[in-house]
Symmetry: C2
Subunit: 349 residues, 2 copies
Amino acid sequence: MDGASAAKPNKRVTITDVARHAGVSTAAVSKVMRNAYGVSEAMREKVQAAIADLGYRPHAAARGMRGRTYTIGVLLDNVRNAFFADILDGIRDELRHTDYTVLIGAAGFDPEEQARTIRSLVDRQMDGLILIAPGTPRAEVLDTAVSTPTVVIGHHDASDTYDSVVDADDLGAGLVVDHLVSLGHRDIALVSAPGTRANKWKRTPEAVLSEGYLHAMQRHGLDRFARVHHTAYSDDGGFKAGMTLLTADRPPTAVMTGADVAALGVYRAAHELGLRIPRDLSLVGYNNTALAALAPVQLTSVDQAGHTMGSAAARMLVERVENRRDRAMQTTMTPRLVVRSTTGAPQGR
Amino acid sequence: MDGASAAKPNKRVTITDVARHAGVSTAAVSKVMRNAYGVSEAMREKVQAAIADLGYRPHAAARGMRGRTYTIGVLLDNVRNAFFADILDGIRDELRHTDYTVLIGAAGFDPEEQARTIRSLVDRQMDGLILIAPGTPRAEVLDTAVSTPTVVIGHHDASDTYDSVVDADDLGAGLVVDHLVSLGHRDIALVSAPGTRANKWKRTPEAVLSEGYLHAMQRHGLDRFARVHHTAYSDDGGFKAGMTLLTADRPPTAVMTGADVAALGVYRAAHELGLRIPRDLSLVGYNNTALAALAPVQLTSVDQAGHTMGSAAARMLVERVENRRDRAMQTTMTPRLVVRSTTGAPQGR
DNA sequence: GAGACCGTGTAAAACGTTCTCCACAGCGAG
DNA sequence: CTCGCTGTGGAGAACGTTTTACACGGTCTC
């Protein structure tokens, strides 16, 4: 292979090296790399041979100074959420055979830190951004979207600046309520995320979910049973919510949650209180993550097609990056109920 | 005016703008930014005021052309592994109050794609790399480590080029075997990952784990019971392994696995075969991920202190990036057994 | 009082690309 | 023969930083 040039240590092969080796100008090499207009077949071949010979890889940072950087940045709050992993897979699969690389910024839940991460991505000259349910003020997102193509996943607030991909969470909530009602439940509680973020997102996934839940309860004439408990989407948050709900005067016979992991927290609470599932309590999660399907769990959940959402987001983003579309658009996915063994008919007690 | 070329409003604030605003040279501003030697107090204040005034943020790509980019790249195969999430948290916490940003490349399991991702990170001028159990040929890692400071997590193969952080997996295996033996088990099987990667890593985590297991079995005089089953670390892989092991002529009374998720697959197999845990089968995972602690699971597992491993890796990497150390080093963490309710005394059957 | 040295600041040369012009050659039309 | 067009290639100016090399004025030392 290249035993000869192995001697020189860490010297990168640059476009100039390629140009010299092929006996052409750097401009020509650049054109070939970007397959831009104005190169003859002969030129293309000559240059490509030189590129292969030298093992040239363009320096992304340098590219970023003038043109594209062929990098897509993804912001998410935490890597632990298996639903996000589905989205990421979708993004990756969509982009696999393109020149784009996906880099992930895991920012944590703190809005300020998320904002910092977004700025970092922009400073690093990402060609486009995919923000998964960002907690930063909407104004900031709008701001960065002006200069960097952006797709927001999760929040239903549309915009003419950024594109968005959402799941019809209201429909999802309806599916769950319908299912539970058809089993005979009437006292159905919802465990949702705290919607108190003072950041101008009006239609967060949790808000839309709650809305759908309330409408569905109303539709079934069960308004008076409706109650929403807000808590963090985590095992612990779910546990606390479960404890509160299940030790109330008139505990619900069914609990639906906005995230699988929270449902498992409720599960733990029920367990601790000596309630059996689904005999004494029916439990439904959301997102249908790998957790839900686990052997000892078998949680009824709502599938959001995270993979599809991810690939849709990636596709939309690339369209924008490559200037093939100049109007904002929204994509909405339809959720599907996956019934497993944590839901059943309520046993009178 | 036309809508097409509309709006290039967002002109970035550059170092030149700051320099002009402060009435100094760009070199001076640069020095202040990097707090380099040779600026008077007055100068520093003047420049910092200008920076604040204009909201200047250095352009990382441009920085990358000459100096640092203040970005650390992390390679991992899949985001789903909760253990990796712990490591990431550790990295993030360590770097939180520094100027560095962490970007994650999730490459999947294909070695070729992992290699491509590593190259991407290098091309994007990362200051340093943290590779979590990379599947790429060792030679390639050594190669990139020459030009970019690199920390390898997981593989026990040491090097004088890259730093490494590992868990004493052999000790971990010993802990598990000791625990199971003390409960009365003798027929203990290990479910490990396929070690057949032809990529020159001799001492992968799985290999060291198997080694530790075999030694421990030997130590207890249980050589003849020792058996290692290789499978992918996934729910499905664990299920298949469980099926094979548990339907054998002389099924083991205890199974330990190299990953929690695989243990849950075995759990599913046992469940399907009508075996109760821990009565008919004791089960131990590895990594003590959030999965293990889940209410319906309560899996005995080995804690690897992923958070600490991550922060150690980050600390070591920054030392290298900032040239505060020029010798390679290895850090080894000590594992700890966390006993939950999937292990118990074997019931003769 | 000459030289060496110090601390502070700047000018200008990189860094590796992209991209806008411009030059040139060949060719068809008038 | 000139003109204008077209298709191909290259020169060179950005892009926003860092860094080197040096200038300048002042102090210290002998």
